[in-house]
Symmetry: C2
Subunit: 217 residues, 2 copies
């Protein structure tokens, strides 16, 4: 919850031992300190205008829509955008999930698209996956890697020239097909898509190799 | 991994105690039994054509692209679709994450879009979220709730009529504005969007209330 920015944790019939231990969770102490306990699901969701239960295919009641997480999360966000006050996401216990009584407080149900053969998920992982889906943004740009600038044409040319010189002096290049080999190397160096910084590193390495190759003659 | 259908677990320098305990994970015993241990990251990813490391913003090396999970997962799937053989997703230890040495085997890095203020995630939750993003399908249809059929117009009309009759006999309806009240009730009943089954249940309940109201007169 803390990782994804959700702040309102409500517990019903919490297992005290685990709850007390969890209070020390790294980075989430503020969240745990503000968690509230309620005597029943009805009390916990009394101020919510939408209650979504989590369930597996097995648990479903034919009268209650069971949606995949991808679509369910969209509907929850739309409910909030349209002015809905309080959207609750209800999870059952690790062992038994939500009871029929719990489910009767849900407007609809949501399931994580797990394999049919292995539906039951660890509770902490299920919560993480649901909250991630609520905050994910398929159109969010990556943070620009400002320091990655492509190498300029001149630097790339110098690398190719240096490389070709080394190959010629090393005996790799056959003099009769030298022109064609040089072209191939020039193209290959361009395909490397070197960054500015990497180009400088390459030139340094090639200069040193070139010096060694010359000494070896 | 088992929940989302990933089968190839590879471990480097595994913590034996935890690994032996994990072998008993409910529903995932086949996966755990086939997990393989490798002496180094290099060995573990030797047959992979793309290695993606997981990192937080803090860990980033300015030379290596760090992508958000949403986009990174798309690129991983495209790599496989284009015939890439072996895509590895590399996670570090719970405590220290990936070392610089580990990161040097990665083509690029990926981060889960957590809050900047609380970036560090539980390892199991981080794995679940990444694998979920790889299998999620925003266009997957919900399983049709075949049993939910909307109530027919006749049933809805009978409910509204029955309801109006009860309200009139209960003294709710003011005789001088009866026509307008009846219209309002009729519209309200339509807004309920009742299912076929729920309509039958409503008619049964209203019939009983009606009988009780008649007896009270």
């Amino acid at each position: 919850m803390s990782n994804f920015g959700f702040a309102d944790l409500r517990l019903v019939n919490a297992y005290d031992v685990a709850f007390r231990e969890a209070r020390s969770a790294v980075g989430a102490s503020a969240l745990m300190a503000s968690a509230r306990e309620f005597p029943s699901v009805a009390d916990a969701v009394a101020d919510c205008s939408l209650v979504v239960g989590t369930a597996s295919l097995g648990h479903r009641d034919p009268q209650t829509p069971l949606r995949r997480l991808e679509r369910g999360a969209r509907l929850m966000k739309r409910h909030l955008a349209e002015g809905g006050r309080g959207v609750a996401l209800l999870f059952g216990s690790e062992k038994f999930g939500l009871s029929n009584d719990d489910l009767s407080y849900c407007h609809w149900l949501m399931r994580i698209p797990t394999r049919i053969e292995h539906e039951s998920m660890n509770l902490g992982q299920a919560v993480a996956v649901c909250l991630y889906e609520l905050v994910r943004d398929g159109r969010a740009p990556d943070r620009k890697a400002k320091t990655i600038r492509p190498a300029g044409g001149e630097a790339v040319d110098r690398i190719a020239t240096q490389f070709n010189a080394i190959l010629a002096r090393s005996g790799y290049t056959n003099p009769t097909t030298a022109a064609s080999t040089e072209l191939k190397v020039r193209r290959m160096v361009r395909r490397l898509g070197l960054s500015d910084k990497d180009a400088a590193m390459w030139l340094g390495m090639l200069r040193q190799i070139s010096w060694k190759v010359d000494r070896g003659e």
